[in-house]
């Protein structure tokens, strides 16, 4: 397995900086726009929620407010892209890609234009807004589209890096963001490359493959399993759902013989499905899925929702034990 020289923030007792992936996107967009004047920001009435206020202030001519119109968001953005611009078009994931899927399919992917769809407030961790606003299907919607790149950063710093990377990637892409402030695992020194998983921990008992805010929970589960039961897990941060890092995941499957996928998304069509498709065809391996089981969300605090929907550290540990059992 090609181990990247990862420099994570201290995973011990030291308190990690809390920030939302949307914060990192806001910073990354400003930085990317300074480097490339073709970058345009378009937002469907959620400028502050998507953290695009700073971009708007620094580049007022390159920011377009369009009100509540998510289909326009994407089709208009495609027009900008056809004129040679690089639009980042942002809304809540429940609305775009939720409502704008056909425009993404036809005007962006089939047209092969250089546009970035930014879906904020994804997952249950949106919290109190409830089921209507908690996108749990967006990865599935985006990963099935030809030409689309799908990125789910695990923390704010990674969201910043992903934004910069997507700005230089020529083609359609989807960036999934969350609202909740989560611990920042990565630092400015952590390498980031689209399409390459990051090995955050190594072990041979089970491989945990996670994305988004579930990566931090997976690392915590792995540490507890090691301390409590001597179970050593590999933890892969799979920030790019598409194109998938086939090689690294197959190597992890071969090395560990069992896998657990962990995501804040429906299991159907999400990271779990992606990994299962790969392994079924190449190295059939027991897999346990931690994710949302065919349910909609509801109002509540982020943490209580993640508990209700079986997305806790404890749920990940249980899944690892089940996977280990099946391996034997």
């Amino acid at each position: 397995m090609s181990k990247q020289n990862l420099k994570l923030n201290d995973s011990g007792k030291q308190k990690k900086l809390l920030a939302a992936t949307r914060d990192g996107f806001g910073q990354g967009l400003v930085e990317a726009a300074k480097l490339d004047e073709r970058i345009i920001g378009i937002c469907a009435d959620l400028t502050e929620s998507l953290k695009m206020t700073e971009f708007e202030q620094q580049f007022p001519k390159r920011f377009v407010r369009i009100g509540v119109s998510e289909q326009l968001l994407v089709a208009l953005g495609a027009g900008f892209a056809l004129a040679g611009k690089i639009p980042f078009v942002a809304s809540f994931a429940a609305f775009s890609p939720g409502r704008s899927w056909e425009q993404i399919r036809t005007n962006v992917c089939l047209n092969d234009v250089n546009l970035k769809v930014v879906g904020g407030h994804a997952g249950l961790s949106v919290g109190a807004d409830g089921a209507t606003h908690q996108a749990l299907e967006d990865i599935a919607l985006m990963r099935c589209l030809p030409k689309m790149t799908v990125v789910v950063p695990c923390d704010s710093e990674q969201a910043r890096r992903a934004t910069l990377a997507l700005a230089t990637l020529d083609g359609p892409a989807y960036l999934r963001l969350g609202r909740a402030k989560v611990p920042t695992l990565t630092s400015v020194d952590t390498p980031f490359e689209i399409g390459r998983v990051q090995i955050f921990r190594e072990g041979t008992d089970t491989a945990i493959i996670a994305c988004g805010l579930m990566t931090e929970r997976s690392l915590q589960a792995a540490e507890e399993l090691a301390a409590e039961d001597g179970i050593e897990c590999t933890v892969l941060n799979c920030h790019t759902i598409k194109p998938l890092d086939d090689e690294a995941i197959l190597m992890a499957a071969q090395k560990c013989g069992a896998l657990v996928t962990v995501e804040e998304h429906q299991i159907a069509g999400g990271l779990g499905s992606v990994v299962a498709e790969l392994l079924a065809q190449n190295t059939p391996t027991p897999i346990e899925f931690v994710g949302v089981h065919n349910r909609f969300g509801q109002s509540g605090e982020a943490d209580e929702l993640l508990s209700e929907y079986e997305l806790t550290v404890s749920d990940i540990k249980t899944a690892v034990r089940r996977a280990l059992h099946r391996k034997a």
Partner: protein
């Protein structure tokens, strides 16, 4: 470099009749397609490619070209045939319409045929993309103009109206929307299926300039486009009233021909009618 076409209006009328024959032959050969809208919009296509658009068939990606988006992609036979006659590709290729491997897809795909600005077919999305192009051009102070051809039926799509609202708000004077107002959609007459009248007043209320014309009169189409370009503070909508199936008597004003290919006998009759008109017009010019 811009490409100059020298044909007179009378010559363009003859060309339009020839293109209508191309369209009939193409859809007949393909065994499927959309003749009514294609025949109705032939005069608009001819006016665009031979008089209105700044473009160069030998250099389709020329940066300074005007952008023309066909939102109602299903009438692409008219666009393909007009592009071939304008010199984008050989008219021989027209009979490959809808075939496997053809650049002339059933609905137009930008990546397959040089000269198409965007992929289209799913209705309602053309004006939004046109608005993005026009906004970007204004941002960079570029002089090219964006034209979007839309159907009347697609005015049922919410996205289209989102774009009308946006273009009106932003006073996109470098954007012109032409409405293929032929009063039919797949399920029947537009005013029965889902009325869109009063259409002119709707666009006016969204802060657009509106010009109503006979969409089968090439002179009127050219004049309206000139007038649209002279307006500097708002986008223009040209409502081009036209006869669906124009030029083929048994197809005219009949919504059945929206998406139906003529059989052998119908094809012969259609071509005979069009050839008779062509002969008459040619004699008048001579």
């Amino acid at each position: 470099m811009d490409h100059n076409f020298k044909e007179s209006n009378s010559e363009l009328e003859i060309l339009a009749i020839r293109i209508r024959q191309d369209i009939i032959k193409m859809i007949h050969a393909a065994g499927s397609g959309h003749p009514a809208g294609s025949l109705g919009m032939t005069d608009v296509m001819v006016a665009l490619y031979f008089r209105i658009l700044r473009h160069n068939p030998k250099n389709p990606d020329w940066n300074e070209r005007d952008r023309f988006l066909l939102s109602n992609g299903h009438i692409c036979p008219a666009r393909y045939a007009t592009m071939a006659r304008a010199g984008y590709f050989s008219p021989d290729e027209l009979l490959t319409l809808r075939n496997f491997g053809s650049r002339l897809q059933g609905h137009p795909e930008r990546l397959r045929l040089p000269g198409l600005e965007s992929t289209s077919g799913p209705l309602g999305a053309g004006l939004a993309q046109g608005a993005g192009l026009a906004y970007a051009a204004r941002l960079d102070e570029l002089s090219w103009h964006t034209y979007v051809l839309t159907s009347d039926g697609e005015h049922g799509a919410g996205l289209h109206w989102e774009a009308v609202l946006f273009a009106g708000k932003n006073r996109l004077a470098n954007l012109t929307c032409i409405v293929d107002r032929n009063d039919i959609q797949i399920d029947g007459p537009t005013e029965e299926v889902m009325p869109i009248e009063p259409l002119k007043e709707k666009y006016l209320a969204f802060n657009w300039n509106v010009i109503e014309i006979d969409g089968n009169d090439i002179g009127q189409i050219i004049k309206a486009a000139e007038q649209a370009k002279s307006i500097s503070d708002r986008p223009t909508c040209i409502i081009a009233k036209n006869i669906p199936g124009c030029g083929v008597s048994f197809m005219e004003n009949d919504h059945k021909w929206h998406g139906l290919a003529p059989n052998n006998e119908e094809t012969e009759r259609a071509l005979a009618e069009l050839q008779a008109v062509e002969q008459k017009l040619t004699m008048n010019v001579a």
